[in-house]
């Protein structure tokens, strides 16, 4: 089972790695992706990024994404951790970990989890600029393409 959490608080990366590996020695590799708030968008300085989500659906969506990853790869554990609320530039937003016996499964599952999370979990980002302006982030066609890639491989 993958560990899934949505929270406002920052997370402790080392603790998440340790929790995954605790009490077991069958893991050969852990793939990881950490997403952070960039400080500017097209050269326009950002004051904060606000993450909104649909709690009842998020839980189901993340569980489904995790189950799909476990069906595709022989994972020995994994973690999906997503923050919500108002986050300053540089702040971590999302952490994905995937542990497996061999590195290829760990890395492939990591890429899959973040791609699907970007396109299939009900989170929305709003940019608050330093100049006072605000804008909802628009979905990127590249994200859909990245997620769709996993439909054809395997």
């Amino acid at each position: 089972m993958l560990r899934i959490r949505v929270q406002e608080a920052p997370f402790d990366i080392a603790a998440e790695f340790a929790a995954l590996a605790a009490g077991r020695a069958d893991i050969g590799g852990i793939g990881c992706f950490l997403g952070t708030v960039r400080g500017e968008v097209g050269g326009r300085p950002l004051a904060a990024m606000t993450l909104e989500h649909y709690p009842a659906m998020t839980e189901r969506a993340l569980a489904a994404i995790a189950a799909e990853a476990e069906a595709r790869w022989a994972l020995l554990g994994g973690t999906i951790l997503h923050r919500v609320g108002r986050l300053p530039p540089g702040a971590p937003i999302v952490l994905v970990l995937a542990a497996a016996r061999h590195r290829q499964a760990a890395l492939d599952a990591t890429g899959f989890l973040i791609d699907w999370l970007k396109t299939r979990a009900p989170f929305w980002k709003k940019e608050s600029f330093a100049d006072g302006g605000e804008a909802w982030v628009e979905a990127r066609a590249e994200d859909d393409a990245a997620a769709a890639r996993h439909d054809t491989t395997k």
Binding site: Y54, M57, H82, V94, K118, P122, W124, V137, A139
Partner: protein
């Protein structure tokens, strides 16, 4: 046909345009699909019209699962409208 109640949720800029995040609403009995519900909601006022004008850019979920305009809706359903997701 008798109407029925649904629980509606709005997120991101749909929430901002409509001016609320959720509502319990009675819809006419001839509303059978998500598409029909969207069209009916769009006619409820300027905020709704502005939110649903975007057309294809609006996504929806019925009972916490992504759903297409042809999806059936019925009494007691939780229906959410939102822009394409941008998490991660």
């Amino acid at each position: 046909m008798t109407g029925f109640r649904v629980h509606l949720l709005y997120f991101a800029w749909l929430r901002e345009r409509i001016g609320r995040g959720e509502e319990e609403i009675e819809v006419p009995g001839d509303i059978r699909t998500l598409g029909a519900l969207s069209a009916w909601l769009a006619a409820r006022g300027p905020g709704y019209a502005s939110a649903f004008a975007a057309g294809k850019a609006v996504r929806a979920a019925v009972n916490q699962s992504f759903a297409s305009p042809e999806a059936a809706i019925g009494p007691g359903d939780e229906v959410a409208f939102f822009p394409p997701v941008t998490g991660g």
